[in-house]
């Protein structure tokens, strides 16, 4: 019974691959022989005019849409004003100082917080969240920003983060609560959240750009929209995982609905909710950097403009500034997530709140002292170090000495891996591509997923984006393959040796906190633009989940099974191959899934280094402010992500069923 099933499995995949390969290789000849151009190119007349419709709809929305009393324009203006006002206050507080009056006559009322005050505040937060070690760590990160001349940009970025995070957290929490309470709302919300998480970030920059215009407000709106979905999800999960008995205890105490939510459910869920806050902070930082393209300013803008000027040193400097900030924010917010309730301190008001007291004292004294000693107010320029020339020289040195080596590696990989794979994918006739995808999805996950895959691929073809989508799939496929080949052994190593594990997983944690933008910098410096650079950046960005899930999967293998293996006389090698790896396969699949999702999201950003895929299409749409083009291309990326997600999840759950886990 089983051998026959296996045989038919092998037969299915063999035939599918061979026919795809044949069609891909000979599609051009086929088109010539049959004189049927539709084989290689989706007929123009069949294309859906979706792009135009979307663009027209947005134009209408901005131009003439109105509700009863106000136009849509008024609505966006009102939102702008609501975001702009607190943002400006924060900017004044952190960067510009408060002034009264306009233009020439403006008089400074109060200066911005001095760098010392900001660093002491963040150290206080670090100590409050955990301990002195964290306090020093975040302090050093922020000191780095001051010493290396990134202060002002960093504070602009921080102001954006400080505005977006509360909106994202509160908005996400409220939406999550609503979804928890109202069944139909959750059913509507869930697919939207799924889509939001897979649509590439550039895609919704475009409509927001059109609705809100170029500038910090548009950037903040985009950031909030990007960072909110995980908070909604985590809120739903957190509320649903409050133990049933705790809810019953609340009901037996006679809670009304509101008391139940705010006195029982939300407080009980706080540890999980804080994980969501950490995610919102990190996603916000990531997006604030990307949104520099639509006017966010700050560190992201510095990186972007250095990349455009090919100013190597400046790019790396600003990039490291982002890294420092990311590490500080991540560690501090994670510590908050793990922090449990503490006993209040005894004593008078200063003794009970030592940090608040210190911070106020420092702010007040630097405010006064800053009037007389400028160095207290602003970090003195004379003392800033610039590492720009150093990095430029280092890069130059690397390029001079290793140019041939890098070039050789690049050529070999291009020649033997990238180009053949690209030829294979781009050669597949679109009609067969749709059928093959549907067949694969059907075979793995049943007819529903097969049908879904077929329809989504048809949408991509009908939008006239087939060849670009194939480039995306090829780049993503190659990058994921290499990331998996590197990542899984690293994960195994991390699981087998605790010491290596600490180093590797720590490194992966840090890699994952970095905004995706940062990855582009060294890659472009070393390999210039092109598919190869894009691939390296994607691999770096998408490596972490492959490693983590592999390590996690191996550690999750029940100890009893390992003991059983040892007592049957397994060697370490046999233990790994016969027991641990087979049992870890569901986790490996989930890791693969995450790797693909991250790869797709990074791929869109690598459009900046000149790929010719869907990401490029979105990026062009962004520069031309063509909402329709951006959204259609963005949806195409999302659909590829959704198909792979469904198929791999089906694989994982099939595997889990067979293992009986």
């Amino acid at each position: 019974m089983i051998p026959r099933a296996l045989k038919s499995d092998a037969l299915f995949w063999g035939v599918l691959f061979t026919s795809t390969w044949l069609l891909s290789t000979y599609s051009f000849q086929l088109y010539k022989a049959l004189d049927a151009r539709w084989i290689v190119r989706f007929p123009k007349s069949w294309q859906l005019p979706l792009e135009n419709h979307i663009s027209e709809f947005l134009d209408w929305l901005v131009g003439s849409a109105g509700f009863y009393f106000f136009s849509f324009r008024d609505l966006t203006r009102a939102i702008s004003a609501m975001i702009e006002a607190p943002y400006q206050v924060l900017r004044n507080l952190l960067v510009e100082g408060f002034t009264s009056g306009v233009g020439e006559t403006a008089v400074q009322v109060a200066p911005a917080l001095s760098w010392i005050a900001v660093i002491v505040t963040i150290m206080a937060v670090g100590h409050y969240a955990r301990d002195w070690f964290l306090s020093v760590l975040v302090g050093v990160c922020f000191l780095y920003l001051a010493v290396f001349g990134q202060w002002e940009s960093a504070m602009i970025t921080l102001a954006s983060v400080l505005i977006s995070v509360p909106i994202g957290v509160v908005g996400g929490l409220l939406l999550g609560i609503l979804a928890y309470r109202v069944g139909w709302f959750e059913r509507i919300l869930r697919p939207i959240l799924d889509l939001m998480q897979t649509v590439p970030v550039f895609a919704y920059l475009v409509p927001i750009l059109i609705l809100f215009g170029f500038g910090p407000v548009a950037a903040l709106v985009a950031t909030v929209i990007y960072a909110m979905p995980p908070m909604v999800r985590i809120t739903i999960v957190a509320l649903n995982s409050v133990p049933k008995e705790v809810i019953e205890a609340g009901r037996m105490a006679g809670c009304r609905n509101r008391q139940m939510m705010w006195k029982v459910l939300v407080p009980s869920a706080i540890p999980t909710l804080m994980v969501g806050v950490n995610q919102v902070i990190m996603l916000t930082l990531n997006m604030v950097i990307i949104a520099s393209m639509i006017g966010a300013g700050g560190l992201g803008f510095d990186v972007l403009s250095s990349l455009r000027r090919l100013d190597i040193g400046g790019g790396i400097e600003a990039g490291l500034g982002i890294v420092a900030m990311a590490i500080a924010l991540d560690r501090a917010s994670q510590a908050f997530a793990k922090r449990s309730m503490r006993h209040p301190l005894e004593g008078n008001i200063l003794q009970r709140h030592p940090w608040t007291g210190t911070v106020f004292l420092v702010i007040a004294s630097t405010l006064i002292l800053g009037q007389f000693v400028p160095a207290v107010q602003t970090y003195p320029d004379a003392l800033t170090l610039t590492t720009g020339p150093f990095w430029s020289n280092a890069m130059e040195w690397i390029n001079v000495n290793f140019f041939d080596t890098f070039e050789a590696i690049k050529t070999v990989i291009l020649q033997w891996l990238l180009i053949p794979v690209k030829k294979f994918f781009t050669g597949i006739p679109w009609a067969w591509g749709i059928i093959a995808t549907a067949l694969i999805a059907w075979r793995v996950g049943g007819w529903k997923i097969g049908l879904l895959a077929g329809f989504l691929m048809m949408f991509i073809a009908a939008s006239g984006l087939w060849s670009k989508a194939m480039v995306t799939i090829y780049l993503c496929g190659v990058s994921v393959l290499i990331a998996t080949i590197i990542g899984i052994p690293l994960g195994i190593w991390a699981a087998e040796s605790p010491r290596a594990g600490r180093v590797i997983l720590g490194l992966m944690d840090t890699l994952q906190t970095l905004p995706s933008f940062v990855y582009l910098i060294p890659v472009v410096m070393l390999f210039r633009v092109g598919d190869f650079s894009a691939m390296i950046a994607v691999i770096l960005y998408a490596l972490a989940p492959a490693v983590r899930y592999a390590a996690h999967g191996l550690k999750e293998v029940p100890p009893a099974l390992i003991e059983a293996g040892l007592m049957s006389g397994c060697t370490r090698r046999q233990l790994l191959w016969r027991i641990k790896l087979p049992l870890a396969t569901p986790h490996l699949f989930l890791g693969l899934n995450q790797t693909i999702m991250l790869a797709l999201s990074m791929l869109v950003i690598t459009a900046l280094v000149g790929t010719r895929d869907l990401g490029q299409e979105v990026y062009i749409a962004l520069t031309k402010a063509n909402a329709g083009q951006g959204i259609v291309a963005g949806l195409s990326v999302a659909f590829i992500a959704i198909i792979t997600d469904r198929v791999i999840n089906a694989l994982a759950s099939g595997r889990r069923e067979r293992l009986g886990i």
Binding site: A249, G254, K263, S340
Partner: protein, 337 residues
Amino acid sequence: MTKPVILDCRNVWKLYGAQADTFLNTNPDPSSADLEAANLIGAVRAVNLQIRKGEIFVIMGLSGSGKSTIVRCLSRLVDSTAGEIRFEGKDLLSASEEELIQIRRKKMGMVFQQFALLPHLTVLENAAFPLEIQGVDKKTREARAHEVVELVGLKGRESYFPRELSGGQQQRVGIARSLAAEPEIWFLDEPFSALDPLIRREMQDEFLRLQNILHKTIVFITHDFDEAIRLADRIAVMKDGIIEQVATPEDLVLQPATEYVAEFTRHVSRAKVIRAASVMEPVNGDSFAGEVAHDAVIEVIADPVEASDLPHKVMEGDRQVGQISRKAVIDVLVGRR
């Protein structure tokens, strides 16, 4: 003299499944086979219970027997599918949401298997929680919380958080919380099942001590038959959603109504449940070695009765109702009856 019935539950059903709500309209008394055919799960089936003021009423059953569901029906945490539940004469099932909230606030208390403490509140705040919900001002509710925390023996730990306490201490907090609002009926859903055996025994003693002070009406759920006979005034044995028998521990052991109950009681040490009145003989003669109470279990009186050649008087109050001799006690101890 029987005490008044506080909680009266008649023909209560709780079905789970697709047509659970309408099924009983067409078939008011379905058999197990009927339910299975309709793809329904009968968690509680035709349950009749009368819980009297001041008694400890234990509902005993193995997992899946419906004992947790029935206690949730009684507190209306779960809405029963059919039947009638009267609490202090009022129909509980037709009570509005608002009435229910008031009943729970003032008259019911509940203790949970996994303690169900709020992790962000201290011991004192947890104990004061039901009062906080009612809007009692901080000073009053903290004073009351101090009382109940002291009552359960946690004085000095008021500012601890639940995670800093052992399981037994956490359940003491759960008990304190359930008592804070001075409920009239006290539900305990397997309160000691999550505890180690030694702690469990200690908590049972503690529970009996509290009941001696408080005289609450108690519905106590357990899967542990020894716990049931140790604590109960009356026991209801449940199986597959049906009450097999309601009786005092002694009657349950001496006259099991069904094979299932008999299976449970077979290995119970009889000396722990049989009372003097059940094995006494009519008075004959006038020389006695001493007196025993008519409701004392044999285990307690075994030593003096067995040690003397003369029988003991069995007393109900000041009146002698019979005599008990060495043979009767030994019969019970070696399992001859």
